[in-house]
């Protein structure tokens, strides 16, 4: 009897111990079925600039124009040069892919973006952009009233957006389900205020808010909004609804990677009031999007530029002389250093890079530009239903109260009717701490730690997601977007950014617009290209 009891006790203990063991081991094992890794970015290459140990160039080439970088601003500038019959130019890109923030990945299920992934229907007066879209049949026609019609395969398909709130997936992102009528009134009041800003005209006759924002008013009534945080602005206006504050924080996270307290009121309002898109065959407030995101647009811009693009080239020094510019760069493939003597240079790198390559300019050196770090993950997921009610899987899927931006279904625009697998792009702006601290923390985190964060963020809407994911790749962006912080805009007026240096170095990057969006990068590239075209003609 005693022996048997003892035996049973031992068995129970043994069983219990092994169960405990399994449980304790789980942090290592629960992701065993998920393949993938943290993709290494170009930050290691960029950090060579800090060390500055480059040998003397061994070879010199000559070009009319050098474009530094191959993001949207750079490619837009190159397109414009080409269209104006300037062909003796080269594009030097640090990375082994072009596109800057508009890069993508691809697997057997779908292409997917690594950062920028949509273009809102542009404003009617952004004619240069409309022309580009027409060149590539993204705009299929301009009707008799002058209104563009868009290729409907590129217009975000229905269902477009949903928000998980109070256990339910509601249609649209503005909190609605379970929101009291008082809160709703306040949300309506906010949008009424936005409507007035959208229509507002400054004392110089220019719109208060527009895209490109270069063309907006200099009326201080409007520009003063840059001197106060969006959070303080909302408080001053008497807003207090939590749901509204969450939603607006989501918006500035989405477009700027920042938060309500760091973003200027100007930028927060601009998010809504700057966009006045009009389309003949769709809603004006929708977006154009592709499985690969804005890499689609980058590839269109680059479609005639392949012969000009040199990848894996780190420009480490740009030295202006009276009539020409020396561009020194490192080739990663050959591990050599070379030089180009150019008549003109368009610098399309962000200013935190420029201050290391265009030296001795205090405007660049001391500029208050800060950049938001992000984590982006692409999840390959088997189709399954979670049993939550409301709108089915949409393009943009956001969870109320979450720090993340939720996920975008990269496979949404694929035409096929049945999708047994999909790729979901999860966006997490690291904006709860100051950028430097957040960036350093992000670089330290392991793959498993990021998976913990992803599943934790998505848990309330998708408790069993982990069982349906087969692959997750992760990318950390140290400096992905210019943060439109309080007081930034006055620095954008520095003549060096607008007029260039010596009429032979010009700058083009969306950070010089204070906002990291496709339209601004495109504008910056075109503006710099025009300056090059003009000064070359004058010479």
């Amino acid at each position: 009897m005693n022996n048997r009891r003892k035996f049973i006790k031992q068995m129970v203990l043994l069983f219990g111990a092994s169960a405990m063991g399994n449980w304790a081991c789980q942090p290592n094992n629960k992701y065993a079925h998920i393949k993938g890794k943290i993709l290494t970015g170009n930050n290691k290459r960029g950090h060579l600039l800090r060390e500055g140990k480059f040998t003397k160039p061994t070879q010199t080439n000559y070009f009319d124009v050098v474009i530094v970088g191959s993001g949207i601003a750079a490619l837009s500038a190159a397109r414009k040069l080409q269209q104006n019959n300037i062909t003796n130019f080269t594009i030097l890109e640090l990375d082994d892919t072009i596109g800057g923030n508009a890069i993508n990945g691809k697997n057997e299920v779908s292409a997917y973006p690594w950062a920028a992934h949509y273009l809102p229907i542009p404003n009617l007066d952004d004619t240069e952009l409309l022309t580009f879209l027409q060149e590539h049949q993204i705009i299929t026609k301009i009707d008799e009233k002058g209104i563009p019609h868009y290729n409907e395969e590129y217009v975000c398909a229905e269902p477009e957006e949903r928000l998980f709130i109070n256990g339910y997936w509601q249609d649209g992102l503005i909190p609605n389900i379970g929101i009291s009528s008082e809160e709703r009134k306040e949300i309506d009041a906010f949008f009424a205020l936005i409507k007035s800003y959208k229509a507002a005209i400054g004392n110089d006759g220019k719109p208060a808010f527009t895209i490109p924002n270069f063309y907006s008013t200099t009326d201080s009534n409007c520009t003063d909004l840059d001197n106060i945080s969006f959070y303080d602005f909302l408080k001053q206006k008497g807003f207090k609804t939590k749901a509204l504050f969450w939603y607006l924080n989501y918006c500035v996270s989405d477009d700027y990677g920042t938060n309500l307290k760091d973003a200027s009121a100007w930028s927060g309002i601009h998010y809504f009031a700057g966009r006045k898109g009009v389309s003949g065959n769709t809603e004006g407030d929708t977006v154009l999007t592709w499985p690969e995101g804005n890499a689609f647009l980058a590839q269109k811009l680059a479609s005639t530029l392949q012969a000009h693009i040199q990848k894996n080239k780190l420009v480490y020094e740009i030295i202006p002389n009276q009539h020409q510019v020396e561009v020194n760069y490192h080739c990663f493939e050959t591990n050599t250093t070379k030089q180009i003597i150019a008549k003109k240079v368009i610098v399309c790198a962000p200013q935190f890079v420029n201050k290391r390559i265009v030296k001795n300019y205090p405007e660049i050196e001391n500029s208050p530009f800060t950049y938001s770090p992000w984590m982006v993950a692409n999840l390959t997921v088997n189709a399954y239903t979670e049993g939550t009610e409301g709108q089915p899987m949409s393009w943009d899927n956001v969870i109320f109260g979450s720090n993340s931006l939720g996920y975008v279904n990269a496979s949404h625009q694929l035409l096929q009717t049945q999708k047994p697998q999909q790729v979901l792009t999860f966006y997490l702006p690291l904006n709860t701490k100051q950028p430097k601290e957040a960036r350093e923390e992000a670089y330290e985190k392991t793959y498993e730690q990021w998976l913990d964060i992803i599943f934790e963020e998505l848990k309330q809407a998708h408790p069993s997601l982990i069982n349906h994911v087969t692959h997750i790749d992760i990318k950390i962006w140290g400096h992905s977007m210019i943060r439109p912080t309080v007081g930034l805009r006055k620095h954008l007026k520095n003549s060096i950014f607008n007029e260039g240096i010596n009429q032979n170095i010009f700058f083009a990057h969306s950070d010089l617009s204070g906002i990291s969006i496709f339209e601004e990068a495109f504008f910056q590239g075109n503006k710099a290209a025009s300056q090059v075209i003009k000064t070359l003609a004058n010479a």
Binding site: E152, E153, E158, P159, T286, L415, T417
Partner: protein, 512 residues
């Protein structure tokens, strides 16, 4: 095991409780038999055979149980409790197991009779064991009389409440879960009553508790389980089921009528499908100037192709259907081939198992006639196949004088949806000629005939071999009564999917 009582047995508390438990055990036993018989009739049809064989096997198994009972000599109480728990679990989950495995296993009858035998053996053990437990506590003649009286009363109750109340109100699945819980309840009671006499009473308690919780969870989730097994969807006898990566195919038979369901939605009834397929195919064929190259999108059952093959001047028919499971089934199953005359294996027919949208976008061949036979636009995935973008690819795949026809749901039930499809087709440049007919299984059904660069001419010569359509009938089909006539709708686009919203509203309205 070594503490078998040799001392005289103490009498049991209230004899009433004892009788109640016999009564419960007896009711449960008969219920499981009825559940198995009913489930087998649902799934396999022919209720006389099913009930007869199941009752036979069940009673025989009970006999085995009674025989086996003599080999239980020690720890009778503990054994009885364990058997009660087992009966509760096996009987309780029996209907779930039957419905769930029906579509999954090749030898369903084997599963059925194994389950019935197992339940029978366990139930057959109950009464003999119970009588031996009570032996010595009651006078033998009293015992026999009481036990069997309550056994038979229980059986009567079960046979009355089963058809009148249990099946209609609770449903088969809940009924078996519920009676499983009652069996476990008896196990509990015995355990509690004789806790001092039962070896490992505590472990049996927790075993009973776990089983009870399992059954309660299943009972609460019975609706989901029923949906999952789709057992209530089909009134008819199911003769074939298959889950492909894209859909669940269920074929039923009843009085020589075959019905095909995809994801629970009726696709055709063999009794009247000719009305649908003649109306779908022949008006378009009458319009066509040339009939050489034909494209069919959807229609993996091969019934539209059967109608097409009545035209000898067709050179080739390309059928694009996503689901290989569907086209294979209708190419090789002899019963189904008799419905479509083996159309899918005809030498003129090429089957492509691809997504119709992607296939059409990549296609650069021109067709004289295109037949579009997709499921109704009930969700965003299918809604795309009715969008202006899809139709612009469709019109580009058509010869200059080509003709196309689209099945367009019911203009009576889903009036807005029907006219939305019409307006969407017009928006890409089709000239349309909507028409409708009556298909008893579906009700009023609608089609849109669409012409590219061609004017509509009234068809003259429908073949006399057709069972439904004639010149006069078709003329009537072009007339829309007031309650189905054209209404304003938006154009269905990928970025508005208005059709799915219309379809949803139309059906909601109809069902209210």
């Amino acid at each position: 095991m070594d503490n078998e009582t040799k001392t005289p047995k103490p009498p049991m508390g209230s004899p009433m409780l004892l009788l109640v438990s016999i009564f419960v055990v007896a009711t449960c036993g008969l219920i499981y038999e009825l559940v198995a018989g009913t489930a087998a009739s649902y799934l396999l049809g022919d209720s006389v055979t099913q009930f007869s064989t199941i009752i036979g096997v069940y009673l025989f198994s009970m006999g085995i149980g009674s025989y086996v009972s003599k080999f239980f000599s020690k720890n009778l109480l503990a054994w009885f409790v364990q058997i009660e728990i087992l009966v509760g679990l096996v009987g309780g989950f029996s209907s779930l197991v039957l419905f769930a495995l029906f579509a999954q296993v090749d030898y369903f009858q084997l599963v059925l009779y194994v389950l019935v035998s197992l339940t029978g053996i366990l139930v057959g053990l109950e009464i003999p064991l119970l009588m031996r437990i009570l032996e010595g506590r009651y006078e033998f003649k009293d015992l026999v009389s009481k036990v069997f009286t309550f056994d038979y009363i229980g059986a009567l109750l079960a046979s009355i409440i089963f058809p009148i109340w249990l099946v209609p109100k609770l449903g088969l699945m809940r009924t078996s879960f519920f009676f499983g819980m009652l069996n476990i309840g008896v196990a509990y009671w015995v355990c509690y009553k004789f806790k001092n006499e039962i070896a490992w009473a505590k472990s049996l308690f927790s075993l009973a508790t776990m089983s009870f919780i399992g059954l309660i969870i299943a009972f609460i989730n019975a609706n989901n389980l029923v949906n999952w097994t789709e057992s209530t969807l089909f009134q008819e006898k199911i003769i074939y089921t298959k889950s492909t990566p894209y859909q669940r195919i269920v074929l039923t038979a009843n009085n020589n009528q075959y019905k095909l369901y995809l994801n629970g939605n009726l696709q055709f009834n063999s009794a009247d499908e000719y009305r649908y397929h003649e109306a779908l195919v022949h008006p378009a064929m009458q319009q066509a100037s040339s009939k050489k190259q034909v494209l069919v999108l959807g229609g993996g059952d091969g019934l539209a192709v059967r109608e097409l093959l009545k035209y000898p001047d067709i050179d080739s028919i390309t059928l694009v259907d996503l689901d290989q499971g569907m086209t294979e089934l209708f190419s090789h199953n002899s019963m189904l081939k008799s419905l479509n005359n083996g159309s899918l294996t005809h030498p003129k027919v090429t089957v492509k198992n691809m997504d119709a949208f992607l296939w059409l976008k990549a296609n650069n061949k021109l067709y004289d006639i295109i037949i579009v036979d997709f499921p109704d636009p009930s969700n965003f995935s299918v809604g795309k196949l009715y969008s202006n973008v899809f139709y612009s690819y469709l019109i580009n795949a058509l010869q200059n004088y080509g003709v196309c026809v689209v099945q367009s749901t019911s203009p009576y039930v889903a009036r807005k949806s029907f006219w939305c499809i019409n307006h969407t087709m017009q928006s890409v440049g089709f000239k349309t000629m909507p028409y409708h007919n009556y298909v008893p299984s579906f009700g009023e059904w609608g089609y849109i005939l669409a012409l590219k660069n061609k004017t509509f001419k009234a068809p003259q010569n429908f073949d006399s071999s057709f069972k439904f359509i004639t010149k006069n009938v078709f003329e009537q089909m072009l007339v829309f009564p007031k309650d189905m006539d054209s209404v304003y709708t938006e154009v269905n686009k990928l970025n508005n999917q208005v059709l799915v919203h219309y379809f949803d509203e139309d059906w909601k309205h109809y069902q209210q």
